[in-house]
């Protein structure tokens, strides 16, 4: 994968497969401490201790169609190549939290990439999940929660063209707003 946004999409897919109906994605860019932190937290079925112990092993997967799962090992390797750390916490019946920390300025750190595209794919493509996105760049933050949007829509689907456009603009503007201040400094 060429972007961290694609890793986020991939990990969030695991959360959906685990039956989560609330998934929170957080990105923190901290230039002062030179850190980039990504966290995906869900309320899915979680994993038992054995599965958790083996989850970063590329030959373990919960899927039955193929015997190897590469998503989590890829993400872990991406963080560790950049002087970073990788952690998974999971409790059966409660959910899973995946956290990857990167050295922000590391030469091998992948770009964040198309975060907006990843979020739109998840929000529009899996409307039964409550998506929360928090993006912090130093002191500024953008928080997106699709719950009020769905309440306002009251039955009108997210894949309605004007609604999709609205969601796209809301996310694009939010991300741009947080980033602009860094650029103007």
């Amino acid at each position: 994968m060429r972007e961290l946004a694609l890793h986020i999409l991939d990990i969030a897919e695991n959360s959906i497969s685990a039956g989560a109906n609330k998934i929170k994605i957080s990105i923190i860019e901290n230039h002062r401490d030179d850190l980039l932190e990504i966290e995906i937290k869900d309320n899915g079925k979680g994993m038992d201790a054995d599965t958790l112990a083996n989850i970063t092993d590329p030959f373990i997967t919960s899927r039955t169609t193929r015997k190897v799962g590469l998503g989590i090992p890829f993400f872990k390797a991406a963080a560790e190549t950049c002087d970073g750390t990788f952690n998974i916490h999971s409790k059966q019946g409660l959910g899973t939290k995946v956290q990857a920390v990167f050295k922000h300025s590391h030469i091998d750190r992948m770009p964040l990439g198309d975060i907006s595209g990843t979020l739109q794919a998840l929000i529009i493509g899996t409307p039964e999940v409550n998506w929360v996105f928090e993006y912090n760049v130093d002191e500024d933050s953008f928080v997106f929660d699709d719950e009020p949007i769905k309440e306002t829509l009251d039955g009108v689907p997210l894949s309605e063209p004007a609604v999709m456009k609205f969601v796209r603009e809301m996310i694009d503007e939010g991300i741009k707003g947080v980033r602009q201040k860094v650029l103007s400094e």
């Binding site: 994968m1 694609l6 999409l9 991939d10 897919e13 959906i16 497969s17 899927r63 169609t65 193929r66 799962g69 590469l70 998503g71 890829f74 198309d114 595209g117 990843t118 739109q120 794919a121 998840l122 529009i124 493509g125 899996t126 953008f142 928080v143 997106f144 009020p148 949007i149 306002t152 829509l153 009251d154 009108v156 689907p157 894949s159 309605e160 063209p161 004007a162 609604v163 999709m164 456009k165 609205f166 796209r168 603009e169 809301m170 503007e173 939010g174 707003g177």
Partner: protein, 122 residues
């Protein structure tokens, strides 16, 4: 929320959408599903899905439900797009890039003609 877009804007959008819906007959909605497993994502499935969503938003295409799903189990054909027209057999398309996706929406979803050269055979 600190964006220019507000929920009031969304309320207006909702009312417009409901008005339009009343004008249309309830013929059921076509589902367009994109496989989004690890292999699909690595092969470009997000760009394929984005192209479909952008086309629907920009060209104001109604009555299409876009969904994404996990691994479909046909790795060598990723990205995979499934088109499900109500009352018809599902059609699986393989190795769908954004340009192909736009053609599938135009020819199959809008005009009802299956794009057989992109179809996964078997």
């Amino acid at each position: 929320m600190s964006t220019v877009k507000s929920l009031d804007d969304l309320k207006k959008i909702r009312e417009e959408a409901l008005k339009k819906q009343q004008l249309r007959e309830t013929s059921g909605k076509t589902e367009v599903i994109v496989g989004m497993g690890t292999v699909g994502i690595a092969a470009g499935a997000r760009e394929t899905l984005k192209a479909i969503m952008d086309m629907i938003a920009n060209e104001d295409l109604n009555d299409i439900i876009v969904r994404q799903t996990g691994n479909i189990g046909l790795d060598s054909y990723e990205p995979i797009v499934v088109v499900a027209v109500p009352g018809e057999d599902k059609v699986n398309y393989g190795k769908v890039n954004p340009e192909m996706a736009r053609r599938i929406i135009k020819d199959h979803v809008i005009d009802g003609k299956i794009v057989s050269e992109y179809q996964i055979q078997g």
